[in-house]
């Protein structure tokens, strides 16, 4: 569990400065080559011919029509959960996914069609006799297809963006209409609920005596609410505000450096890795002794005279694996009156500290019954040094059913006696901030409920910190910037599909190439199953006597799946649409990494293989000759 089971591009080397430098060079070379190619008249002509071919194909027009229908019509028929956030997420997810799907299919078809048909119809023989290299023809076609993709993706993307912005900007009126006929009591109660949930401040809900700077009270000592109309307008604006803060935004995560196990408020804590290791080793030793004792007793009972002195190695491995898994889980369980201290590192670049931070996490309770909406009492404390330099601890009741978002203050301003304003950042001099989550539950004696909460910060697959488990997010930029970067990643995918289609059609007929590419795509959709097979080390899902069954195809299947996962996952795992709809930043770094993997490695590899075959193949031998 302590090492990554798969090959990963996120290796320390590739993530290091050297790795980043190499990646930068690769990308610079790649885009330089593309720009240089575009400057070449012959390549431009081939690209222009590809455009003409595309628009001559009825298939392309059908795809364009489909794109228009999907982008324009889908949002009208989609059913969401009724919230503004849900509406935005579902529209973005489906329109962008469908756009990617349609453009991807069209790209593959066009790439295969333009190359295979040119060869099949012997037109390629005419082109190849001209003073143009084969790789230039190949590249020209790829650039032509990508130019078309750029146009269509730009159009579809603009429509989706415009639609989202339009809906977001007209949301207040729609919400106001829903509140218009509500009774005064309902409106006040809604406002109070919003205040209790932290969506509004108390002074937004009740009247304030501006002179005394206190909340106004009536004769019974109850706060006086603001005018109903004002409250309605305020409530109507909340969904839009939430949408802008949680979905139509770009929020990046701070790096989670470590998680410390806390046993008391004054405890400095011990890293979860050390805690896990020390407990695990003691447990392993104990378990080994017990198993050995049992085995010795069994053997002694059956065969007189024989004696076992050690647990067999494979059984030792199994025991260790089980105990590692157990302690990986236990390190995330927070029993009452204990806590976890999360250590976050300040982002590399500058960020707008005034916009604050957001702690995003979830709780789990495996014993949770469907009957109740249990709320778990936890205290939250965050500081720059893990001790007392931070806002006072807050005690909160959290649900285990949804993601929790808690706003954190990133910077405080203090005015000195000299009148100078000092900014105090939540990040200490070591660029770290500490967030403590403490379990304040008090289970009653004799009750079944034990108050144990799971904070899922460990990746079960690797046993290491899960960067999406508990996050502190900061405002990285606006939605448009994020949206454009998401489209850029989609564009990178299309680039690989175009290259794949061209490479396949360089040595196969149209139908064979389409079939082969479809096969590759199908395989790429199955990486989840492949990962499971590699993790289980077998294709079998059955067990006999506590041991997983094996198959004769395991050796071939596991190894080939391991290779496929290593090749396909880095390309496929950059899923910008999910991040975009969650309001997560697709950072410039991620974008650069995506391009370096998707185009820099996969694209170049396919380009190399494709042009090599195309250069060396005999163009006169085609299907039509057979």
């Amino acid at each position: 569990m302590d090492s990554l089971p798969f090959f990963s591009f996120e290796t320390p080397f590739l993530m290091s400065w050297v790795g980043m430098g190499l990646r930068g060079l690769l990308l610079a070379g790649l885009f330089g080559a593309i720009i240089w190619s575009l400057a070449d008249r012959r390549i431009r002509h081939v690209a222009a011919l590809t455009w003409k071919t595309a628009f001559r194909l009825r298939f392309m027009w059908v795809m364009i029509l489909l794109l228009v229908v999907i982008v324009g019509g889908l949002p009208a028929v989609l059913r969401d959960d009724g919230s503004a956030k849900g509406m935005a997420q579902i529209i973005l997810t489906y329109t962008l996914s469908m756009t990617t799907g349609i453009l991807g299919f069209a790209t593959l078809w066009l790439a295969v069609g333009s190359m295979a048909r040119d060869i099949g119809d012997c037109q390629m023989q005419m082109v190849a006799t001209k003073p143009i290299a084969r790789w230039q023809i190949w590249l020209g076609k790829w650039l032509g297809i990508m130019g078309l993709n750029l146009l269509l993706l730009g159009l579809a993307g603009s429509v989706v963006y415009g639609m989202m912005e339009y809906r977001a900007s007209h949301m207040d009126e729609a919400q106001y209409k829903m509140l218009k006929d509500r009774s005064d009591e309902e409106v006040i109660n809604l406002a109070i609920q919003s205040w209790q949930q932290g969506e509004l401040r108390i002074e937004q809900v009740v009247q304030v005596d501006e002179e005394k700077k206190v909340l106004k009270e009536d004769a019974q000592g109850r706060y006086i609410p603001r005018p109903i109309e004002e409250l309605k307008r305020l409530l109507a604006s909340l969904p839009r505000k939430k949408l802008r803060e949680q979905v139509l935004v770009s929020r990046a995560s701070l790096d989670l450096e470590d998680v410390l196990v806390l046993y008391g408020t004054n405890n400095l804590g011990v890293s979860f890795r050390d805690w896990r290791k020390s407990n695990r080793e003691a447990e392993e030793e104990k378990a080994m002794q017990e198993v050995l004792k049992l085995m010795q007793q069994n053997v002694a009972a059956q065969k007189q005279g024989e004696r076992i002195t050690a647990v067999p190695p494979e059984m030792q491995q199994q025991i260790k694996r089980d105990i590692r898994l157990q302690y990986s889980m236990l390190s995330q369980l927070v029993v009452p009156k204990t806590g976890r201290r999360l250590v976050f590192r300040k982002p590399f670049g500058s960020f707008n500290e005034d916009r604050g931070l957001v702690l995003r996490f979830q709780l789990e309770d495996s014993r949770m019954s469907f009957k109740t909406d249990r709320k778990y009492k936890m205290s939250l404390y965050y500081s720059r040094d893990g001790k007392e330099q931070g806002p006072p601890p807050q005690v909160r009741l959290y649900s285990a059913r949804t993601h929790i978002e808690e706003p954190l203050i990133a910077v405080a301003r203090m005015v000195t006696e000299e009148g100078v304003t000092n900014k105090i950042s939540i990040f200490g001099t070591n660029d770290l901030m500490y967030v403590d989550l403490f379990n304040e539950e008090t289970p009653q004696q004799g009750q079944e409920y034990l108050g144990v909460i799971r904070l899922p910060f460990v990746d079960d697959r690797t046993g290491e910190l899960n960067p999406r488990g508990i996050e502190v997010m900061y405002y990285e930029g606006g939605f448009l910037k994020n949206y454009l970067r998401a489209l850029a990643i989609v564009f990178a995918w299309l680039g690989v599909l175009a290259a794949l289609g061209l490479a396949a059609a360089s040595f196969m007929s149209f139908s064979m190439a389409v079939f082969a590419c479809s096969g590759v795509l199908l395989i790429s959709f199955c990486t989840g199953i492949m990962k499971d097979v590699v993790a289980d080390d077998t294709v079998m899902q059955t067990w006999t006597d506590g041991q997983r069954d094996a198959s004769i195809v395991d050796f071939f299947a596991v190894n080939s799946f391991r290779v496929m996962v290593s090749v396909i996952s880095p390309v496929k795992d950059y899923s910008p649409i999910k991040d975009l709809t969650d309001g997560r930043a697709i950072t410039w770094g991620q974008l650069a990494r995506a391009y370096s993997y998707i185009w820099g490695l996969s694209g170049l590899l396919i380009f190399g293989v494709g042009t090599l075959i195309f250069t060396r193949r005999q163009l006169a031998i085609t299907d039509s000759d057979e």
Binding site: M87, I188, N189
Partner: protein, 550 residues
């Protein structure tokens, strides 16, 4: 050569081809039904074409053919993944697509409706969104599942179950909100206004709904049919069969309240029994629908009467906005705010009959041994009925039901006090008090919210009525029991969510029961009671301040 080519017809002219197409399509239209019948006769795997489906659904199911399964599986997986990832916004859409891709598979409808109503609704903290998901589960089954699988008992069972359990029971923190919303929905289509609904005790004028005398009623009936898919004729049949009772004084009443969810559970189970009767392949699933009938009848008996606050005339609802009283204009937790139901003793006979019918059907149709299942449930119901009649000071009826129960299930009474093997409970010698409190401890330990509220109300009724009769010792005995029940329940549920199963304070209960008795027990008894507790004539007990008395 050129001239010759121009005159040669490689294919027929397009208008002729078009004509052919039209003729062939028309022929296909004529023979399609016959072909479908033959396909049904000749192939076991053949499924009837969808009836009354919208064009888009027909197109999808026909065009995708066998690929529907793959797409449906993909969408289902996506829905599961999204749910595990706590991303719920797509679920409604995905459920709709998955169900529509396989509309004739009943488990698809059942699973998605259950998922909506139970798993997804609770993911949202606010009551409005939750109610939306619960309704979506109901809508999926009622509006679409039944349309495409009209003879499938599972669909009716699930629909009835959502009404009985999700809306009717108290498992959800916002169950009172669901009940209130459902009551509002039904009031809007079944009566002119809430006052009329209350005056008629939740029983609509079925004849007016069947033959609407005015356009206003016709419009309401239209909504009733279109939105809620309720047929007034069937409603009347249900009311006649399960709700019409003759009271001990000879009055005939319709005792099923159509504002409460349990009645709708009975309605849909009744529809299931009726429509699926000719579906022998689903015999085992019918058992579930049968069970829903008597279960819902039992719940309608136990919590089927809505209590009106006699002082205000309002139907009460439990406050779900606790703590709002800090700001002027916000709702305060008070006595008006309680969805309070009490046992509906008027349908005891019908509930008993429903049990008998289901036992008979199970024995005769399926040859099933029902002793430890249906009949044990029946015995438990009758035991409860005896208790409620006792608490409500209707001891003659309690003894009547005790005799019925003892005659039917003598072997289950062997260990009860006062039972003599062979003779049963001897008339005139039965100590009801002893009988009822024999299982008192058990009831206290396991009693849920409704049972406890009913028990508290019963104990207080006995307390006040003994006081009115001048028997202070007996009155005090029941008051002590009331305090004991209340305290033990409060301790047992002190960690439960406030708006789900928490009881009102003791004082609040006393005021409500007393007010109810003063309003409904007749002038003599009311006067005796007022004298006993020191209230002036026409004086009503005062409501306690908000939140007090817990």
């Amino acid at each position: 050569m050129k001239t010759k080519r121009a005159k040669t017809l490689d294919s027929l002219p397009k208008p002729v081809l078009l004509g052919f197409i039209i003729v062939l399509v028309a022929l296909a239209f004529v023979v399609q039904e016959r072909l479908n019948t033959q396909r049904g006769e000749l192939s076991n795997a053949y499924l009837e074409p969808l009836q009354n489906a919208p064009p888009m659904l027909v197109l999808t199911t026909q065009a995708l053919s066998g690929f529907r399964g793959i797409i449906s599986s993909y969408l289902w997986l996506r829905a599961n993944e999204a749910q595990l990832d706590k991303r719920y916004q797509e679920q409604m859409q995905l459920s709709q697509w998955v169900s529509q891709l396989q509309p004739t598979v009943p488990t698809v409808w059942v699973n998605h409706a259950w998922n909506m109503s139970y798993n997804l609704s609770v993911k949202y903290p606010d009551q409005e969104t939750r109610w939306k998901y619960v309704q979506e589960g109901v809508r999926l089954l009622r509006d679409e599942g039944i349309k495409y699988c009209p003879q499938e008992p599972l669909i009716y069972h699930e629909l009835a179950w959502i009404f009985q359990h999700k809306i009717g029971h108290n498992m959800d923190d916002h169950h009172r909100f669901y009940k209130q919303q459902w009551m509002n929905n039904m009031t809007a289509v079944l009566w002119e206004n809430q006052e009329e609904a209350q005056a008629l005790r939740g029983v609509p004028n079925f004849d007016a709904l069947i033959n609407p005398p005015t356009p206003e009623i016709a419009e309401r009936v239209s909504d009733l049919r279109k939105i809620y898919k309720l047929d007034p004729r069937e409603m009347k049949a249900v009311a006649m069969k399960y709700g019409r009772s003759t009271l001990p004084n000879g009055d005939v009443v319709d005792a099923l309240d159509w504002r409460i969810p349990e009645t709708h559970s009975i309605y849909w189970a009744h529809m299931g029994l009726k429509r699926c009767a000719n579906n022998p392949s689903r015999e085992s699933a019918m058992r579930k629908v049968e069970r829903i009938i008597y279960q819902s009848m039992m719940y309608a008996f136990e919590r089927g009467k809505l209590v009106v606050d006699p002082a205000t005339g309002n139907l009460g609802f439990q406050d779900v906005t606790k703590g709002m009283g800090a700001i002027a204009g916000g709702a305060s937790p008070d006595l008006k705010a309680s969805w309070w139901t009490i046992p509906n003793l008027d349908i005891t006979e019908n509930t008993h009959a429903a049990y008998i019918e289901m036992v008979k059907r199970a024995n005769e149709v399926r040859g099933e041994d029902t002793y430890s299942t249906f009949e044990t449930a029946h015995f438990n119901f009758m035991r409860r009925a005896i208790n409620w009649f006792f608490y409500y000071h209707r001891e003659d009826e309690a003894i009547k039901w005790l005799e019925i129960c003892a005659n039917r299930y003598p072997e289950k009474f062997v260990y009860y006090p006062g039972y003599t093997p062979g003779d049963g409970f001897k008339k005139g010698k039965v100590n009801l008090d002893e009988f009822v409190f024999y299982k008192y401890e058990d009831d206290l330990k396991r009693g849920n919210y409704e049972k406890t509220v009913g028990l508290i109300r019963g104990l207080l009724i006995r307390h006040f009525l003994f006081l009115a009769e001048g028997d202070e010792v007996e009155g005090q005995k029941y008051y002590d029991k009331f305090k004991d029940v209340h305290t033990r329940y409060v301790n047992r549920f002190k960690n439960a969510a406030a708006n789900r199963v928490r009881l009102l304070g003791r004082e609040a209960f006393e005021v409500m029961v007393l007010t109810d008795l003063l309003a409904n027990e007749g002038p003599v008894r009311a006067a005796q009671l007022r004298t006993a507790i020191g209230l002036a004539a026409d004086e009503w007990p005062k409501h306690s301040p908000p939140g007090s008395g817990q």
